[in-house]
C-alpha cells in the first residue's frame, strides 16, 4: 500500500529543510569571519581555514539531523489521509527543525564569544629552564 500523501510530504519537507540549513550556514559563517580574524589576531590564512572547518561541521550536523527526523509514522491511530493532517505534520517537522537550527546558531555564537574572550586574555608567563 503506497500512500501518496507521504511522498508529497517528503518532497515538500526535504527541499525546505536543506535550503534553510544552507541559507543559515551561509549567513552565519559570512559574519563569523570577523570573529575568526579577531581570535587568531589577524592571521588570515588560519582564520579562514578554521571558519571553513566550522562550516563543514555545521553542515554535517544539521543535514544529518534533518534526515534523521524525516520519517513519518503511519499507523491505525494516525492514518495519514487528509490534507489537514499533511499540513499539521509538516508544520511540526519544519517548525521543530527551525527551532533546532536557531539553538545551534546560538550555540555557535557562544563558541565564538568564548574564543574571543580567551584570545583577548593576557597570556600567562611561561617559565622556561633557561629563564
Amino acid at each position: 500500500m503506497e500512500n501518496k500523501l507521504i511522498i508529497i510530504a517528503y518532497a515538500i519537507y526535504l527541499p525546505i529543510a536543506l535550503l534553510l540549513t544552507f541559507y543559515v550556514a551561509k549567513t552565519l559563517f559570512k559574519n563569523a569571519k570577523v570573529f575568526m580574524l579577531e581570535i587568531f589576531h589577524g592571521k588570515e590564512e588560519i582564520a579562514l581555514a578554521t571558519n571553513r572547518l566550522f562550516e563543514i561541521g555545521f553542515y554535517l550536523m544539521n543535514f544529518g539531523f534533518a534526515l534523521l527526523i524525516l520519517k513519518i509514522n503511519v499507523s491505525e491511530y494516525n492514518p495519514f489521509e487528509t490534507t489537514q493532517k499533511l499540513i499539521e505534520t509538516l508544520s511540526y517537522k519544519i517548525g521543530g527543525f527551525s527551532i533546532y537550527l536557531g539553538v545551534m546558531l546560538f550555540f555557535n555564537l557562544l563558541l565564538f564569544f568564548r574564543g574571543r574572550r580567551k584570545a583577548n586574555q593576557p597570556k600567562p608567563i611561561i617559565r622556561t629552564a633557561i629563564g
Binding site: L28, A32, E38, I87, E88, L105, L109
Partner: protein, 116 residues
C-alpha cells in the same frame, strides 16, 4: 478546504508578518545597544545580524510548530475564537521575551560601564 486549513493560512500570514516586523524594528534600534557593549563596529554588525537570524529561526519555528496542536474546528464562530486566542498568545510571548531582553541588555550594559 476545511475550516482548519483556512484558519492555518490566516494564522501563518498574520503571525509571521508580526514576527518579521518586530524583529526588524528591534534589529534596527538594538544596534546601538550592541555597539555600546562590544564597542568595535565591525563585530557588532556581525553579532547583530546573527542575533536577528537566530530570533527569526526560533520564533517562526515556534509559531509553525504550534499549528500541529490545534483542535478540529467546525464552525466559523469557533474559527474566530481559536484564531484570536492563538494570535494573542503569540503576541504575549513576544512581549514577554522583548521585556526580558531589554532587562538583560540594561544590566549587561551597566556592568560593562561600571567595569570601565
Amino acid at each position: 478546504m476545511t475550516y482548519n486549513i483556512i484558519s492555518y493560512i490566516i494564522y501563518i500570514i498574520i503571525t509571521i508578518y508580526i514576527t518579521v516586523v518586530v524583529g526588524y524594528k528591534c534589529y534596527k534600534s538594538g544596534y546601538i545597544y550592541v555597539l555600546s557593549i562590544f564597542i568595535e563596529e565591525e563585530i557588532s554588525v556581525a553579532i547583530n545580524k546573527i542575533l536577528l537570524l537566530g530570533y527569526y529561526l526560533t520564533n517562526i519555528g515556534y509559531v509553525i510548530t504550534i499549528i500541529s496542536k490545534w483542535k478540529t474546528i467546525n464552525t466559523g464562530y469557533e474559527m474566530i475564537n481559536e484564531l484570536s486566542i492563538r494570535i494573542a498568545s503569540i503576541l504575549f510571548l513576544l512581549a514577554v521575551m522583548h521585556y526580558l531582553n531589554m532587562i538583560v541588555l540594561t544590566f549587561w550594559r551597566k556592568s560593562i560601564i561600571n567595569k570601565i
